[in-house]
């Protein structure tokens, strides 16, 4: 089951660059929330603050609180623990090249110490089914490498890999931007199905995609969150002129 995310007064810096300013928002559980905004507006940084991935950059710094469910992820837990509860799918598919499809999906579990063969088999199958990839790869699980699949399949493999550790939240940073329209549709359908089990946050450049998959949408601009509302409102009658200028493409 997914959990809600509560963000209060989040500020983030990369060195002296104040990348995120006073972000406050509540992301509802078991819904898909889209984050839109022009390049460099901070939406990717924000999402990386939700699983503390921004800390992989040594000059990154954060103040404020982020609660995932009841857990204050900055003060009550370590990054490694958080990342097992908050999965991430990246812009370009990045399956592990030295591993087979099976090993890729199982990697999160195996490398964290799980070794029960039967349990792993079950989890791999379930994850691949949940990411709509099972039928296409079930005969080649151990014989094909993760990198030998097509782009769309690789991305679904990455989704399966993320789902295998059974997170509560799934963060997706422009998951379909490197894919063709058919693969994109498959991913979007997938998000629709996954919503009932996970809380999904999706960063996207593609506004039509946000409109298609997300109930709520947040518009980021220059490190601030300008507007956060139902997707319907944002795309038919946004409250803030800046939001409107962005989504009508009038940004100059």
């Amino acid at each position: 089951m997914g959990v809600g995310i509560e963000v209060k007064n989040l500020n983030a810096w990369y060195g002296t660059n104040h990348t995120l300013q006073d972000i406050n928002l509540n992301i509802p559980a078991n819904h898909a929330t889209a984050l839109i905004g022009p390049s460099g507006c901070g939406k990717s940084t924000f999402v990386r603050c939700l699983n503390r991935m921004h800390e992989t950059n040594p000059i990154a710094r954060v103040t404020g609180t982020v609660r995932i469910g009841d857990l204050d992820i900055y003060n009550e837990a370590k990054p490694v623990e958080i990342r097992r509860r908050v999965g991430m799918v990246f812009q370009r598919p990045n399956p592990f090249p030295t591993m087979s499809i099976y090993e890729n999906v199982a990697s999160g579990l195996k490398l964290n110490g799980y070794s029960n063969r039967r349990v792993l088999d079950e989890i791999v199958e379930r994850s691949l089914k949940n990411s709509a990839l099972w039928d296409e790869v079930k005969d080649d699980l151990k014989s094909k490498s993760g990198a030998s699949l097509s782009g769309g399949q690789q991305q679904r493999l990455c989704i399966a890999r993320a789902l295998a550790v059974d997170p509560e939240v799934l963060l997706m940073d422009e998951p379909a931007s490197a894919l063709d329209p058919v693969s994109t549709s498959k991913i979007e359908d997938l998000i629709f199905q996954l919503k009932s089990q996970y809380t999904i946050v999706i960063v996207t450049h593609n506004m039509q995609q946000a409109a298609r998959v997300a109930e709520k949408t947040g518009f980021f601009l220059n490190g601030r969150m300008v507007e956060f509302d139902t997707t319907h409102k944002i795309f038919t009658n946004p409250s803030d002129k800046r939001t409107e200028d962005y989504i009508t493409g009038r940004f100059g």
Partner: protein, 289 residues
Amino acid sequence: MTREGTSFRSAWRAITDHAVTGLAILATMLVVVPLVAIFVYLLIKGASSLNLDFFIKNPAPEGESGGGMANAIVGSGVLLGIASAIGVPIGIGAGIYLAEFGRGTKLANAIRFTADVLNGVPSIVMGLAAYSLIVVPQGHFSAFSGGVALGIMMIPTVARTSEEMLLMVPDPIREAALGLGLPNWRSVLSITVKTASPGIITGCMLAFARIAGETAPLIFTALGNAFWSTNPNQPIEALPLQIWVYATGPYEDQHRLAWAGALVLIALIVIAVSLVRYVTSRGVLKGVS
């Protein structure tokens, strides 16, 4: 542009194209031909002296004929074993530090600089260093000191190639591993290093092939041993060392043995490298090489 003009230009382009291709082929041949020539020459000179004795007998006493280089072959094996045990772990470890943990730090820059300098140190100076640091305090020559000298010579090559191969692993792979909740050390070892392992192994083999033929460092450390010995604490014979001694000696017999030794040395290096390649290529699906 007239039609005659265009055809002239295209003819000129074709000529240039062929000329440069020809030069490239020539350059390749200039590289390959000496290599092949050496092999063939060694084969001619050394094959005749190869017999079973060569491989199972120790050197005959001064002046006598017969005997072999059994102890030198085994001795080289021992020395290279000690050297690899020192050079490979330290080298890979340094490479991992440079690529994964110390990127951009001053310490990393210092390490890189030191490695480059170490690489440039003449091998005889390395031998002298090992002599003063190990042989003199211990009071005797030993295989160990020779192994150390050779091992230290391995480190820069292994470290630099490891670092380069690790840097070639794309960052998204690391991010994927971290995103799954893997601790950094796990991500580095099980994902990054594993992905770069074909390249890292190549680096180790390059270093190995280089030191397998080193003679100068062994003069003041391993010293050489006319008799059979595998004791790391005592002087030990090595193929390159033995070849040098025989080649510069007065005896015709020894000269012939030296040729055979050179042939065997090169053959062993080629076999060792091929074996490692074969063994590692079977286990790895796809990686960075």
